[in-house]
Every structure is written in C-alpha cells, then in structure tokens.
C-alpha cells in the first residue's frame, strides 16, 4: 500500500502509521521522555515522512515498552509497537547499541534485567 519505511513498519507492526494525528499524548505519557532525543510522536512522524534517519535515534533503545502510550493513543496505533519494530529493523541489520560484555557490575543485576536487556538491545 505504501512505499519504503512506512510500508515496512506497517507490515511488521500491523498498524498504519499514517493514522497518527500527532496529538502528542504518547510523548506526554512517556516516562522515559526526558532521556529521549526524539519524542515518540516525532518518531512516528518520521516514519510517516519516510525518514530513515529515525533508525539512528536514541529513542528507540530507551523505550522500555511500558505500553503507557499504547493504552492512551486515540487512534489506537500502538506507538510502543512501532518503536519496537524500528528496533527490530535495526537489530536485523546486526547493529546493537549495547555490548553487554562491556557493562560493569553485571553480576549484581537480577536475571530478568539481563535477559530482557539482551533481548531488547541486542539481536
């Protein structure tokens, strides 16, 4: 139906990024917003505008998949899902932002932290 990044995101997430009306409630709800370089609503906008540089932003790794945006999105496009899909697209290119071997103090962390981190941040 579309071309380029919007089409890929549409296929992988099952939601149409063009339905986003940029209301900003996802960004307004995001607990990690202060650590993001591009607010979630702008990430979706960049998908709409087929801007591949969105794959380089810090936001998609900071997102904790807490789904607060998804339960509030008035167009029900599940922004968390879309951001995760962008993450998957990057991971499938074998690009990971974190090398877990370099992280200090791994032994003190709960297992769940390690596992979820390795799943989300690496391939």
């Amino acid at each position: 139906m579309f071309r380029g990044l919007p089409q890929t995101v549409y296929e992988l997430s099952g939601k149409n990024p063009y339905l986003c009306i940029q209301c900003g409630i996802c960004s307004g709800s995001c607990p990690m917003i202060k650590d993001m370089d591009v607010p979630p609503h702008q990430v979706i906008r960049m998908i709409q505008l087929d801007m591949p540089e969105v794959l380089n932003c810090k936001t998609i790794w900071v997102c904790a998949s807490c789904n607060t945006c998804s339960v509030r999105c008035p167009r029900d496009i599940d922004p968390a899902r879309m951001i995760n899909v962008l993450r998957t697209i990057v991971q499938r290119k074998n690009i990971y932002p974190v090398d877990l071997r370099r992280v200090k103090g791994l032994g003190d962390l709960p297992q769940i932290a390690l596992i979820s981190a390795s799943r989300k941040l690496t391939g």
Partner: protein, 796 residues
C-alpha cells in the same frame, strides 16, 4: 391471462436520436404478432402532445389494457406516461417503459445491428413482465395536522413553534420538569456571546403560551404504535406531588424542607431541596417533589411542605398517568448529554475536586449560578488564577470507542477561556488541544480574538492530571508537539472539554420508534446529504443534537427543517403510500421467523404464527426475500415470476454460439449511472440485457442461476455504494450474502464463478460501470458461451 391481455407497444424515433441507430422497422416487425400484442406503432415523438393523444385514443379504440413504450429513460418521462394511463382510466402500473435511447442507441452507435437486436430483446422482456403486471393502488392515508415533538430543548422548541405557528396541533413532550434543555444551562453562546437564557426564554414563554401547543413536562414516551397519519403514542406523565394549578411558586415549602439532593441543573455544584423548582427561569415555573430524596416518599415521615403550603398544593396521592395520544407525525429532538468524564481516570475528574467539566464551568460563570459568578477552586473556594483546559475529553478517542469529533467543544472552550480572561485579564489560561476546529461563520475570527486576549494554546493532548497531595495544586502533563518540549505545569483549576454523547435513553426510544442508530449512538438520518432530518420511517423526523453533535444555530436550522418536512408531508391532507412493498404468501410461510431479524426497518413481525410485513414500515427493498427458506416473501411489481419472465424474454432470440450478459441494475444508482453513460455517449458491448430492480437485495441465488439456465453466459449486478442505498444502509450485506451463496451454487454446478460480477456504482460512476460490463464480456468471451450440458446441470 394471455388471453385477456391486450398490449399496445409504442416505439419512439425520438427525432432521430433512436432511429439513427436502431432500425425501427425491424423492431416493429419483430414485435408484431407476438402473443398478447394487439397493436404496434412507431412515432417521431411519443411524448409529444400528438403522440400522447394517439395513445389515449388507441387505449379506448383497441381496448388496450397494457402499454409498453420503448423510448428514452423512464427516469425522464416515466411519470408522464403513468399519468397518461391514469387519465385514460388504466392503472398506471399496467405499464412498462423500455429504455432504447440512453441505454441503447446512445451507447451502441457503433453497432446498429446489435442495438436493434438489443431493442427487440428488451421489449420482449418488457412484454413478458407486463403480462404479469397487476394493477396496484397507492394507498391514500388521511393525515391531519397533529404532531408530537419529543424533547423540548432548543431544537424541540423551535420545531414546535414553527409547526404551531403554521396551525398544527403540537404535543411537546419533555422528560425533565422544565423545558429548555441543555441550552438553559449555558452561560453565553459563541460566536456572539449572547446570554443563552436571554435568547432562549422568549421562545420558552412562547411555547408555554401558544394555543396550539400542549406542553407535557415531566413526561416520557412509553410506547409507539401505528404509522404515519395514525401514530398511537402512550405518554407517561410522572407525578409531581404538587398540584400545578394551585402552586404559585412562593417557595415556602423549599425553605422548610429538611431533605436535600445534588442539584442536577448545576451539575452537582450545589444542592437543592427534595421539593424544588429546577431553576429560576424554569418553564413551567412550578415546584415538584423528587421521590428519591423526599423523606415522606422514601421513609414515610415529615410532610412539612404539606403543612406550610399556603395554597394547599401538595398532593402526596399524586399518581403517574398514562395518556393515549394520536398524532399524524413525530419529530424526535431528544438532544445530548455531556460525556461522563469519570470514565477517563487519568484526568482525575470525580477524584480531584479542582478538576471540573466544562458544563460545570458554564454554571460557575453565571452571576446567579452556584458560585455567584466566581470561578473558584472547589477545594478551598479561592478564585482560580491559572487554569488549564483539556480538549477532546471523550471525543476522537478510539480507546473508549468514541472516534468521532463532537464539533462544538473547540468553540465552547475558546468561549469559556475568553469569559475567564474578561473576568480577570491577568489570569493565566492555557488550552491543550489536538486541532482547533473553528469551521463556522465567525468562528475563526472568534478564535483570533481569544489569541488576541492572550489566551495560550498548546498543541498537545494532555496525558494525565495529578494532584499534589502537599500543595493541592494540579499538575498537567503534555507534550508541546510543535516544539517537541515536554510540559509539566501546575494549575489551580483544570477544565475538561467533554464531548457530546446521545441523551440517556436514546437507544430505548429508538427501539420504541423503530429508528436506526448510527455507530456513534446518535439517531440515524435517512441520508446524510439530501435527507438529513428524515428517518427511514415515514412520518418520523429527527433534528438537533439527537441526530449528532452541533451548535445552537445548526440545531435551530435542523428544527425548522424538520418542521418544514413535516408540513410538506401533511400539507395536502393526505399522503400516498407507495404500493411497491414486500408481502408474505401465507400458504407458503411455515412460521420459522428468520425474516423478522433480517428486515433492518423492523417491518416484519410474527402474527398468528405467520410472518407479517407492515405496509407502513416496509420500504420495498426486498432484503427479506433471499433469506426466506420457503420463498414465501414476494415483492409487488417485482415478483420472482416477473423477473424470470424478463430474463426469458431478453434471451429468447439468442442464437447458438452467441454471448449474452444479463445485468441487474438497482433503480436508484446503477440505472442512473447507465443513463449517464448514455448522455455522455460512452460505448459498450450491445450484448448486455438490463433488468431493473428497486434494490439488488431483492435478488436470490435462484434468480441468478435461472439467468444462466435460460441462456445468460454472464450476470452482472450493480447496486449503490456502501451505505448509500436510499432503502437502508445495510443492503450491501444482503447482496454479498446472496452473491456468496450464488457463487457457491455455481461452483456446485461447475459454472465458473467469474461469470458472476458485482460492483457498487454511484450515480456518477458511468465510466466505471462501462468498464465493469466490458470486463465481464471479456471474461465471458474468453470462457466461451455456456453449453447446453452446462445449462442442463443447473437445477433451480
């Protein structure tokens, strides 16, 4: 029947428009001598005065009892000729008009032989049908000028006044103890900033004093039966426990009443006594007792009001009364209510005292309101200095199933912001919005004035409101999408711009009146563009917010429109009920009841174990027909036999090896598109034979397969776009069911399913229709004509 049918066939040259392509002499030759045809004539202009006179004389001289006219589109002169028959003493339904201009000569100009054969076949089809046509009478129903208006908000009031001023007898039924609806609860109205009650009160007084209006307040519609011209409505008048004829509204009772309840008129911002008058400008201005909070009516004690009332107006023996009212037409104006913001817990309404909804702010702003006109924090009574407004609460939100926009909130929020600014220009006011919808006359200018006054606008939907437990201030979180900055700001007061939802009880009332409801819960109009205040039920109209959110100006416009439509309906003193309706063949009906739910208008019910179709409610679409397992439902003038005879007639001349496509067009959309193809001089293959039906939902798998059996190699079905059918919005569902079943049967008989094609066509989609027909012909050519064995396999 063949013996006593005497058909006269008239073929028009149309001044060369037809005769330049279609060989008239061949047509005349082919038709003469057909069984039942007594007379065949041609004429340059059948519609001319001379042409019409000739027909009139022929009918008398030759004792004709059926007439066929092969000429232009029946959409053009159909009514003319029907009237001609009537004037000549013949029933106008003993007539068929064959379109050999727009749908023959004008579209097959490159194929005169084909055009001629098509003309002959279409006339043969008409001959087959007209033999089976029966005289039908439009039933005349006397209508008077009694109208019931349900709901006495501004829309109901306006409709009632328009009707009453025109001489109608109006029953205005209002559920609340006072009329005026939501408009009475508003402060000022945009974009003029009129005081709402000031412009409403004169109309309320006019209603109260109008000799033609019977005002029934504190009353509800219990039951509705009957049909246009004869609606029987049961109205329940609730007991006030105060004799209205004695009460002078002195108020002594209320001053002594010990019981209280939240004041609904002020959205709970203050309380009222159990005996009360709804508000200072109530009409009728009489007291009443609330049975839920009155100590006597709930616990059997007190009765102080009775003792102190100087007029002895209190009557605890008051009972509800049921009135039986007969009216000719009904207008529904039941309005809206504000969205219940407690459903959106993240905004804290109902939990945090200083989060209020916009309707409450309307009341606060009024000098006679619950806070004396002061906009205060409800927690500590301090004047609010820094206020946030949150747009789209309960609208444009898929999460709560309300995706629609409520239309007026942007404007009322701007209005409220300006009101607060004018009270104190140092106030800090911010509106958090998604879009600003200022679409109407003077609206954009109003928005500019607000900006000019210093009202701040932040484009970002608020994610949540938190009340700090220590400071008591409200924290609002939103993203300013235009700068990408996250905002976390403290406010004294947060106002939620709640959307409009249908009034409580709309669904129940719709069931009682057998009206359709849209996906948003509002009453559904007959057609959104050209019948915005009609419903699919004849004699019932809707207006105001009952039909959808809108402002006062639009409500008033719709109210007058509904009154106008009502007057149009009843102005002749009689209305004609079209005779083309579905009916049940009792002997074939086995009482299974499947059809009852299939009629979207609720026209079918079970009576004495058999299905019965109400003539008043039936619109003649035939959607019920395909679902009857016994084939026990028929459609007048378009019976199965009539359609099959048309198919037969159209295919009779087919020779071996030739290809034919039978095309079923719905009468409203596809047929008109086909006419448009003609006026646009598009061309398509002449091997198409058209049969018209009111709605394609009347077709059955049997009819479709019969077409193949009788000689068709392809079948096309065309009907209106989704939701556009003038009959009802769900015809497509029926047609899809029929086509699915037909295709399944075709597969069973090893007939390629691609030979059946269906498309939705709007009146202006002539090119699309021509392409569809062309595509089908190509498929049929590629697959080849069906063989005798193929047709032999089909069992109908």
């Amino acid at each position: 029947m063949a013996n006593d049918v005497r058909i006269g066939v008239y073929v028009c040259h149309c001044g060369g428009n037809i005769s330049n392509v279609v060989k008239i002499s061949e047509v005349l030759k082919a038709i003469s001598g057909v069984d039942g045809v007594v007379l065949v004539r041609d004429n340059e202009h059948v519609c001319s005065e001379a042409g019409q006179r000739e027909i009139r004389e022929d009918i008398k001289r030759y004792n004709l009892n059926r007439v066929i006219i092969a000429a232009c589109s029946p959409k053009f002169h159909g009514p003319t000729f029907m009237k001609l028959l009537e004037d000549s003493g013949l029933n106008p339904y003993l007539f068929e008009m064959v379109n050999i201009r727009e749908q023959d000569s004008w579209v097959h100009s490159n194929d005169p032989d084909g055009a001629t054969r098509r003309a002959i076949d279409q006339i043969m089809a008409a001959i087959g049908k007209v033999k089976l046509n029966e005289p039908l009478e439009a039933r005349e129903v006397k209508v008077g000028n009694r109208v019931m208006v349900i709901g006495a908000g501004i829309a109901g009031i306006q409709a009632a006044l328009d009707l009453a001023d025109s001489g109608c007898k109006v029953y205005l039924v209002e559920r609340e103890p006072t009329i005026g609806g939501r408009m009475a609860q508003l402060s000022y109205t945009f974009p003029t900033d009129d005081c709402s009650l000031c412009i409403l009160s004169p109309k309320m007084a006019a209603v109260y004093n109008h000799p033609n209006i019977t005002l029934l307040t504190y009353s509800e519609v219990e039951d509705v039966s009957g049909s246009v011209g004869d609606f029987h409505v049961k109205v329940k008048v609730k007991p006030r426990y105060v004799d209205m004829s004695k009460c002078v509204a002195c108020g002594i009772c209320a001053s002594k009443c010990p019981a209280s309840a939240p004041d609904e008129f002020n959205y709970g911002l203050r309380s009222r006594r159990a005996i009360y008058v709804p508000h200072e400008m109530a009409v009728p201005y009489k007291y009443l007792i609330d049975p839920k909070s009155c100590l006597y009516l709930t616990k059997g004690i007190c009765r102080v009001c009775e003792r102190v009332c100087p007029q002895k107006a209190i009557n605890f023996d008051d009972k509800e009364r049921i009135l039986d009212i007969v009216v000719d037409a009904i207008i529904v104006a039941t309005g809206y209510e504000p969205f219940d913001a407690t459903k959106l817990k993240q905004y804290g309404y109902g939990v945090y005292k200083n989060v209020i909804i916009a309707p409450q702010l309307e009341r606060m702003v009024m000098p006679v309101g619950p806070t004396g006109g002061k906009v205060i924090r409800l927690s500590d009574g301090q004047i609010a200095r820094k206020i946030a407004f949150i747009h789209c609460v309960g609208s444009r939100d898929e999460q709560i199933g309300r995706p629609g926009c409520s239309r007026v909130c942007c404007m009322y929020t701007i209005k409220q912001a300006m009101t607060l600014k004018r009270q104190d220009v140092t106030r800090d006011i911010t509106l958090f919005y998604i879009d600003i919808r200022a679409y109407g006359k003077g609206f954009e200018e109003y928005y500019m004035r607000a900006q000019d006054l210093g009202v701040k606008f932040v484009r970002g939907k608020v994610s949540e409101v938190i009340e700090d437990p220590v400071s008591g201030r409200l924290i609002v979180r939103a993203e300013d999408t235009l700068t990408g900055r996250f905002i976390e700001d403290e406010f004294d007061l947060v106002v939620l711009s709640v959307g409009l939802v249908p009034s409580r009880g709309t669904e129940d009332l719709a069931k009682k009146l057998k009206l359709n409801i849209g996906p948003d819960g509002f009453l559904l109009e007959a057609h959104p563009k050209y019948r915005p205040v009609d419903t699919l039920r004849e004699g019932v109209f809707i207006c105001g917010c009952a039909q959808g959110p809108k402002d006062i100006a639009d409500s008033v416009a719709q109210a007058s429109a509904a009154a106008g439509r009502t007057l149009r309906l009843i102005s002749q003193g009689r209305i004609l009920i079209e005779p083309i309706k579905a009916y049940v063949i009792d002997e074939s009906c086995n009482g299974c009841g499947i059809c009852v739910d299939k009629c979207p208008l609720g026209a079918i019910s079970m009576v004495d174990g058999k299905a019965h179709i109400s003539e008043a409610l039936c619109v003649g679409c035939g959607s019920c027909i395909p679902y009857c397992p016994r084939g026990a439902i028929e459609l007048k003038h378009y019976s199965e036999k009539q359609i099959l005879s048309q198919i037969e007639g159209a295919l009779k001349s087919k020779r071996d090896g030739e290809i034919r496509v039978i095309a079923f067009f719905d009468d409203s959309c596809t047929y008109r598109a086909a006419d448009l193809a003609g006026t646009s001089r598009l061309t398509y293959d002449s091997r198409v034979r058209v049969i018209t039906v009111p709605s394609a939902s009347r077709l059955t798998p049997k009819i479709i397969l019969s077409a193949f059996k009788y000689g068709a190699d392809g079948v096309f079905i065309g009907d209106c776009l989704e939701g556009a059918s003038p009959y009802h919005p769900k015809v497509l569902d029926v047609i899809n069911d029929v086509i699915r079943e037909a295709r399944s049967q075709m597969r069973k008989y090893r007939i390629d399913a691609r030979r059946l094609k269906f498309d939705t066509i709007a009146v202006d989609m002539a090119e699309r229709l021509v392409k569809d027909l062309g595509d089908l012909i190509s498929i049929v050519e590629k697959l080849g004509p069906l063989s005798v064995e193929d047709r032999g396999r089909i069992k109908v």
